[in-house]
Amino acid sequence: MTVSLTIENLSAHYGTTQVLKDLSISVAAGELVSLLGSSGCGKTTTLRLVAGFLQPTSGRIRLGDRDLTTLPAHARDIGLVFQNYALFPHLTVLDNVAFGLKQRGLAKTDRTKRAMAMLERVGLAPLADRLPAALSGGQKQRVALARALVIEPPLLMFDEPLSNLDAKLRIDMRVEIRQLQRANGTTSLYVTHDQEEAFSISDRVAIMNAGRILQLDTPEVLYQKPASAFVARFVGFENLIPMKVVERQAATVTAEAAGGTRLHLSQDLFGPIKDDFILACRADGLAVRREGEGIPAVLGTRTYLGRAYQYKCKTAAGEITANGPLSDPLDAGAQAVLTPLPEQCCILDPED
């Protein structure tokens, strides 16, 4: 049985500081949604509110048709995986995994059987009799995962579960988490500050800042079409060029950046353009040419990226990073023109 998680207008305070501002999000049955943001953005607070470790000042949390908002943490039936594993140091691996089953009143033989089956699935059955202190970081996190999964919760939540693991193990573990989550079809909420991790593991990602969700979309949409300058910068758009429209002719607008640089942009290709906007693009979104229409630039240091050369360019509109083709390396100090490629650029509202 899979159910959806619905968070409606959730607000939370620490003392007088508001840390969550009217946050709403819904996670469909069987879906994995990540909350992504830098520290202090409210992602962990959201998770702790759903877990029942914190009380919201207003708003509702529903899981399927159950209202969790006022339920105590132990009655919420949510599987949790912590950053620091949070295994019971005095219990063996098997007893750790069986702990939740014991709370549910299962007989000893039943819970041992189910816990062992779960340990089998995460590949730790041979270590069932060990204490947590005798396990490696990766093994501990597998035990934590098994312990959360074995109670077959309608909702699984992960609080930066891979932060304490080394790089290679992180990648293996996130694949494993994703496979187990898919296989069980468990609705999941995943908190992380690591963009690559969030994008690789999630159906959808919510990018958070200052207690709000700025954009909730699939990783593909977030990566290619960020909806705001903040999100664009967050997902790695190197160039955000503020511009003003100075002339409109049919579908084509002429826009001017700082320093007087002018560009002709077709609304048929770039989409509707307002009078004030930000032209956002990655280094790949600008063609580096020796001549033509575009932003005049003086090339700076050239870096070999393997698939392209990257240039730090000086322009009248400020420093711009652009990638040029391997077939035509240009030297530092060379004159060039940077042409925005419509399909890889975004037209965004100016920042406040």
């Binding site: 029942g52 132990h74 039936d77 620091n84 295994l87 939740g100 709370q103 549910r104 312990r147 109670i151």
Partner: protein
């Protein structure tokens, strides 16, 4: 590999051991002396002073009272001290700083003042019976040990495992009993031993709280010494020492003594 030790350092170490152990040797020697007064080295060897203790009703009665008071007082202090230590650590950020100082007041205030204050408040003020006064007084006297020693093991306790237990369906009180307590066991036992020994040895608080017919062993020892300066005192002391050594031996055999010094 031989480590070279500076001769002065060696001599200093020997002096330290001498001052630590000499009084104990003298007590044991005096207890065995076949004289009617305390003397060292012993003149003649006898065990009659040990036999004497068991014939003296007052020593037997007060020893039992001392044990009862120590056990009940320690239990009471842990009953208050463990939850207090838990709250002080769990809500360290939220609680005011002076609150943890409050719990060590009984060892900061001069004991004689503390004892007199207890006499005024619980014996005279509340009119509690002598035995109850003793238990309550001792519990308050040793509360700092319970709070501090249990608190020390809670300081390294990871409270997120408590949240893990809650998320797995374990209610708060049960979480405390099945997850928190087993992980601070060493601290609780260490607190018990420290508190118990402090209670058994206490004079300055007990001297105010003992009353007609009810006394503790250390007070009885003092009273006896005022009248008779014979080796009985030394032999009682040796017995008390043996009890302490016995407790330590049991602890060493079951838990290892290292946890006391951790």
């Amino acid at each position: 590999m031989a480590t070279r030790i500076h001769p002065l350092l060696g001599a200093f170490a020997i002096l330290v051991f001498f001052f630590l152990l000499a009084p104990l040797v003298i007590i044991v020697g005096s207890a065995l002396s076949d004289t009617t007064f305390l003397t060292f080295p012993p003149q003649g060897l006898t065990l009659r002073w040990f036999a004497n203790i068991f014939q003296m009703e007052a020593f037997r009665r007060t020893a039992i009272t001392s044990l009862q008071v120590a056990l009940l007082g320690t239990g009471l202090s842990l009953l208050i001290g463990i939850p207090a230590a838990y709250a002080l650590n769990r809500y360290r950020v939220e609680l005011p700083r002076w609150l943890s100082t409050l719990f060590v007041l009984p060892i900061l205030v001069p004991e004689i003042v503390f004892g007199f204050a207890l006499l005024k408040s619980i014996t005279i003020g509340l009119g509690l019976p002598v035995f109850i006064s003793l238990v309550v007084g001792h519990a308050l006297l040793i509360l700092p040990y319970s709070v501090r020693v249990v608190g020390a093991s809670l300081a390294s306790f990871d409270f997120s495992i408590e949240e893990a237990a809650r998320s797995l369906g374990c209610p708060p009180l049960k979480t405390f009993m099945t997850v928190v307590l087993p992980n601070i066991r060493a601290g609780v036992i260490a607190a018990f031993i420290l508190a118990f020994i402090t209670s058994i040895n206490d004079v300055s608080v007990s001297v105010f709280l003992t009353g007609p017919g009810i006394s503790t062993l250390p007070i009885q020892i003092l009273a006896h010494m005022e009248q008779f300066f014979d080796p009985t005192i030394a032999s009682v002391s040796v017995l008390l020492m043996l009890v302490t050594v016995g407790v330590m031996a049991i602890v060493e055999a079951t838990l290892g003594l290292t946890f006391l010094t951790k």
